[in-house]
Symmetry: C2
Subunit: 190 residues, 2 copies
């Protein structure tokens, strides 16, 4: 999506080959009119998939996911981050092995994910794929069908996206970064 | 707002005089079309206040705040929760003394709150007022003007709202609960 690539070039700050700050519009300050345009694009991509529910993880992608859910006129569920030590009998639970944060669980109440649901997963960044894999696992536990994932920024030089596509998951990423560095900035995949 | 009172009566679960679960539409699963109607009401109340930025706290109110910000066509900033032990020289920081969670800091980057901003604060619940007071403090540190706060649910039998109104803060709460219990359910203030 050219509009997003341009926004990343203009406002993104690259601190290393792994750290891209996009907190002027996506992660801390939310440019809601811009995020609504991303939601429109996710809707265009998935509008024929009979989606009845959207799923994301707190907190970073809730804004873009809420605006996307509004395009679908479907409820949005956000999975909650919990310490590993706190399992619950009322929730689906999966583990996230983050390379930037400590390992933690994500949970969704049994009330809000069920067999028969057709779920579109929304997340802000896809790198090693651990968070997305955990959301897929929650849906699997619930017996829900995942129609696919809508990702704002994918780092294609990490292997998470490819590994999940190899498992048959449809993933649509609006910007695909193939390399980045503080010196050269961001290069996008074609 | 009658529509919200009805929703709370129908879907809210009262566990004690302090705990009301509204996670079917506000805190875990988000009924985005309903939250958009709340955003429309916040916009009606504050549309003449020259708001240029909205502010909330992660994670629970990000959804309703994003849909409200979309009504204003203004950016939304969400304050981040941090442990007390991690101050930063790049952020405004204030302390939240929660009675349900441990004491923590909330922070906003210097980049995203500034003198000259006219801020509308959005939060999901107002009880003892500690979170709202912390957001007001962040704005004060930045030299920003707070035009007011938009609250989804206020517990008027807690003293936070009145104490902040006594300091001159405009607070508009869409549902005002004067009492609740598992036996009698929720009673709203007139």
């Amino acid at each position: 999506m050219k509009l997003l690539e341009q926004k990343i070039r203009e406002e993104g700050r690259v601190y290393s080959d792994d750290i891209l700050k996009v907190d002027s519009f996506l992660n801390h300050q939310l440019d809601v009119d811009f995020l609504d345009a991303l939601g429109e694009e996710f809707h265009r991509l998935y509008k024929d998939c009979e989606v009845n529910k959207l799923l994301t993880i707190e907190p970073n992608a809730i804004g873009v996911a809420a605006l996307t859910a509004h395009r679908f006129h479907c409820p949005l569920v956000f999975a909650k981050k919990k310490p590993i030590s706190k399992p619950s009998s009322n929730s689906y639970t999966a583990r996230v092995h983050s390379h930037t944060h400590s390992t933690h669980n994500v949970t969704v109440s049994h009330r809000y994910l069920a067999k028969g649901d057709r779920v579109l997963i929304i997340d802000d960044v896809l790198a090693n794929g651990s968070a997305l894999a955990a959301l897929l696992e929650l849906c699997e536990q619930a017996g829900a069908t995942v129609v696919g994932a809508g990702i704002v920024i994918e780092k294609t030089y990490r292997k998470g996206g490819q590994a999940l596509r190899d498992r048959g998951v449809r993933i649509e990423s609006l910007a695909r970064i193939k390399a980045m560095s503080p010196e050269k900035g961001v290069s996008f995949a074609d």
